[in-house]
Symmetry: C2
Subunit: 225 residues, 2 copies
DNA sequence: GATGTCTTGTGAACGGCTGCACATGGTTGC
DNA sequence: GCAACCATGTGCAGCCGTTCACAAGACATC
């Protein structure tokens, strides 16, 4: 038996693997059979040395003097990310965001089919969205069991987010993606990721305002010495 | 004139300031007047020492033996993030995601009013969404000028994203938030942030699959020695 | 098969972030 | 006014991630 677990893959590398995957997807579609770390890095928007180091954590899948075989590298990245299988997704909250996520083609095409929608608005329950029936919150446990849900997505306002997270965990979901702008607490062993859309704007705001102040200082003449 | 630019605020700190802001907002609403670094950190989901160090980059706004005054700290964070003013936002692409973002209350309430919507679908142009008229792509330059747009949000498929980014930059937008799953290239001085919804799922997938493999190894009996 | 060219894989140095532990300094109670 | 207490602010050590620079290895050509 070969030893599978080489050195563990760093978080920073894991977060970039999906980018490499996307780039390699494109290259494959364009008919490229091999790619150098330099070209791959350029397309992924990173440094070539970083790309090579990232890929080296997966194994030695490059050929010195040649580059990486696109098909093979793509398979290895998919394998590392666990994307050789599908991960059915449940979305809680069928508001604007929930609908946008359910419709987002990038989910299904990357192996994350949205197979269940849940909402607590009686008016929505029973109706369909992109072929998926909207079910009440109380059905979460049954849906998770019957549809083998791997990932729960929270797309509701902050107020109910913690309660929904607990509901998902009780139902057996061990991976949660939370869009509610709230800090959630989950038990050990449950993976939680947070996406806060407003935070990104605030970071942009910070940089812009800093540039602005800097230029004001420069224009008004920084006192020398 | 006092020297404004103390040591620069690290990126890691900047990315947490919005979280502290949100927590302090809540505390203020609840009527709290002061908060300790420990409580603040707990609510923000970080280490207390980290919270203190983060806040110390803004200045010495705490009181030893007491804690931080909620109102004052909130003001200082808003000031550091440049949120004492409003930053008008233009959204390109009024599909599901664009609509979700336009409707998202968290934007306006945090100082980012969505004042312009743009799409290239003739059927949508001229219609209203939440009181904002949808305009053609060609109007971007005029909108940026007339409405003093600070931030452009790209919510269209990958294919056109680079072209739209260039359009925004030409129009004078220097901060861009991109939701298209593509690597964009912008000139120096333009701030670009990337949110890829599928990447988050793929990272969850990685962790889940790793846990799964680990438990398989354990169950089948790792060979000792 | 030997030589030159090309690209990977990685050792090592560097810089930034985290978290501990403690000195600093403000507050309260007597 | 003094002593005990409390929470902030920060020096320091360790860790993680990035980048450079180069050795190792594969291919092509003669």
């Amino acid at each position: 038996m070969a030893s599978k677990p080489r050195r563990p893959i760093p978080d920073a590398t894991v977060s970039r693997l999906p980018i490499y995957q996307r780039v390699l997807d494109q290259l494959q579609t364009q008919g490229s059979t091999t790619v150098s770390s330099e070209d791959l890095a350029e397309l992924a928007g990173v440094n070539a040395a970083k790309a090579r180091k990232d890929l080296s954590f997966l194994g030695s899948y490059g050929i010195r003097g040649v580059g990486y075989e696109v098909d093979y590298l793509l398979f290895q990245i998919r394998h590392a990310l666990g994307l050789t299988q599908q991960w059915p997704v449940l979305i809680v909250g069928v508001g604007n965001l929930g609908r946008a996520l359910a419709d987002y083609a990038g989910f299904t095409s990357r192996g994350f089919p949205v197979v269940a929608l849940v909402d607590d608005d009686p008016a929505k329950i029973g109706t369909d969205h992109v072929g998926v029936e909207i079910r009440p919150l109380a059905d979460v446990a049954a849906l998770v069991r019957d549809l083998d849900i791997a990932i729960g997505v929270i797309a509701i306002p902050s107020a109910g987010a913690q309660r929904v997270a607990e509901l998902l965990v009780e139902a057996g979901v061990s991976s949660i993606l939370n869009f509610a702008p709230a800090v959630l607490t989950v038990p050990d062993g449950v993976h939680l990721r947070q996406v806060d859309l407003a935070v990104e704007l605030q970071i942009l705001s910070f940089h812009r305002q800093r540039d602005q102040r800097d230029s004001e200082v420069t224009e008004s003449g920084e006192r020398p010495g």
